[in-house]
Symmetry: C2
Subunit: 106 residues, 2 copies
């Protein structure tokens, strides 16, 4: 079973859950109320997010509050960073082309 951040964020419902619990810790029931899905389905997604180390749990009585381990998303940021550098350098190249054109005009 593959378990990494990229697999975790592949599902749109999980991305929605991430967006919710990034703001504040929430119980599975509270999360489920925000979608039209069953609590169990949310629980399953939370389990996957948990296995991917993207959420932390805090038990309060019979409630379990889930919140986002936002640091984990830095892995995605680190991955995209290399490509960001490529597209930024391409933009720089275009920039150079443009400024060279201006020079030539003078």
């Amino acid at each position: 079973m593959r378990r990494d951040v990229f697999q975790a964020i592949a599902d749109p419902k999980r991305r929605a859950i991430i967006a919710l619990i990034a703001v504040q810790a929430m119980t599975p029931n509270a999360i489920a109320e925000n979608f039209n899905t069953s609590r169990q389905s949310i629980s399953k997604h939370l389990k996957i997010l948990s296995e991917c180390d993207l959420v932390k749990q805090e038990q309060q009585g019979r409630e379990i509050h889930y919140s986002l381990k936002i640091e984990k998303l830095k892995e995605v940021d680190a991955w995209i960073e290399q490509y960001r550098q490529i597209w930024e350098s391409r933009f720089d190249q275009l920039d150079n082309v443009l400024s060279n054109l201006k020079k030539d005009k003078k």
Copy 2:
């Protein structure tokens, strides 16, 4: 069938393919040589990447050269951006705490 960038980058082999063709356009066969998988399996991944609008093809004789549509990855960057803001602001808060501690020392 879900087809978006997040689903495209969920598979580690597809991320490896992306890394390869980001540098230069490659044929399915050439890509396959970089892994120990069949050409057909690579072809399938390329098809998915194509459906997600992450690659462009260029036919040259009987060869088809695939290269990365790097702009598409900006969608991932845009998504992660909101969370980057959160962790950066948290870091700022920590920064404030630290500088306040320093002040108190004086």
